[in-house]
Symmetry: C2
Subunit: 253 residues, 2 copies
């Protein structure tokens, strides 16, 4: 399994991915799921992948071959980010269809983001196995692929378009922590990459290894703070006597 | 969709269920998913259901018919809770098989818990569509059915076998709140039922309606406290300058 999240805020983009792949619990490996491309001053593009590893690898290989052979088109000469999403979507559905015995098994999903020129905004897209794609919205300024449910509530609570990049990175890491806690097949190293809006330059890249002191501390601190938050909830008055003598049939309004 | 959670702690059991059912977004209804049976002083049994509504209703109807006709066996005369889980499992797989066109569509899952006599512990079981079942463990003192992922992290953090019933009820409600926030098809009224270990008497029952002041406050308070907890996390030092001038290629240990 995989968990990747991309966040789009006014000041830029955050990409965060785990690196664990598995085919059964005894075939666990580490692969980076994050790939960045760019021409400084002209465009910056980051791609994250989830799903069948053979498909995601062949899609990334096709993108890279397109660059090496200076194919027309490739991701560094297409005019907009939407065109690039279309291009990746087409490669993705083609690579899956090549192994048509049972389509479902070979599905892959991508998050693609960045900025092309200063005439258009920085954006993120989720590219589906069928090749079509969606963007973020004002109310949902993030996209997730892979094991997305455990880490979703914290993103919904924290993120708005005006959240800054450091806070967005922290939200992505807390979301990743909740996911790793609940799903064994999501694991470190955790990669984080940032893009500052309208710079058209590569942003900061951080890789948190399995034994990262920061990851351990984040895990410990968040766990302690969640427990503290929970203990400070207003008392459930109607349940205070449940451990002694239960009432019956209370309708609480 | 549905979300039900049952918690087994040393001092007793907590059952918590939502009441929303849906067949498409324009066919949303309210049905209780919690059913209790008992002979005070002898046994107490609570059943919660998730899955195909026709199947869950016919299973509950079969259980009730068994009681009305004083069938041998029925859930009030079987000697142990495991026998009752077997009985419910058999009815469940039979009711699904009756509509065999496409099995998967008619699946239902149950949580069954309570206590039969004082010679055995209070327990909870999850009964699968195939009729077999599992229990809780020391490390995982709860069982979930339906939309379980959004609300799982908080249960993992808070619950241990020594948690008291009032705190367990609060954990169940916070778990339900996270689930309702992330999945439209899980909704109020929320029902909570408790069983105090070794009483063999019905416990407290609470129904929180859609406009419940308590539910609204819990939602508001928890949201505020999560945000506060998040804001108190130690600063992500290596990301402090991300909103100004990003560094590149930091490996953080």
């Amino acid at each position: 399994m995989t968990y990747c999240v991309a966040i789009k805020v006014d000041s830029g983009l955050i990409f965060c991915s785990d690196s664990r792949t598995n085919a059964g619990v005894d075939h666990v490996s580490t692969y980076s799921k994050m790939h960045s491309y760019g021409i400084p001053g002209e465009r910056q593009i980051t791609i994250m992948s989830a799903g069948n590893l053979a498909t995601t690898q062949s899609v990334i290989a096709q993108i890279q071959r397109g660059l090496e052979n200076q194919n027309e088109p490739n991701i560094l000469n297409l005019p907009t980010l939407r065109d690039i999403a279309d291009y990746v979507g087409k490669i993705n559905s083609y690579e899956q269809d090549k192994h048509e015995v049972d389509n479902a098994q070979f599905e892959a999903t991508f998050i693609l983001g960045g900025q092309v020129g200063l005439n258009s905004d920085h954006e993120i897209f989720m590219v589906y196995p069928e090749g079509n794609y969606i963007s973020t919205s004002f109310g949902t300024p993030y996209l997730q692929i892979g094991e997305s449910k455990y880490g979703k509530p914290i993103l919904d609570r924290i993120l708005t378009p005006s959240t800054n990049l450091a806070t967005s990175a922290a939200a992505a890491l807390v979301s990743m922590d909740s996911t790793m806690r609940s799903n064994l097949s999501v694991g470190p190293p955790i990669e984080i990459y940032t893009y500052n809006a309208n710079t058209l330059q590569p942003g900061a890249y951080v890789k948190l290894e399995e034994d990262s002191k920061y990851l351990r501390e984040l895990k410990k601190e968040w766990d302690a703070r969640i427990k503290e938050a929970f203990s400070q909830l207003p008392p459930v008055e109607w349940a205070q006597n449940w451990d002694q003598s239960p009432d019956q049939e209370n309708i609480i309004s």
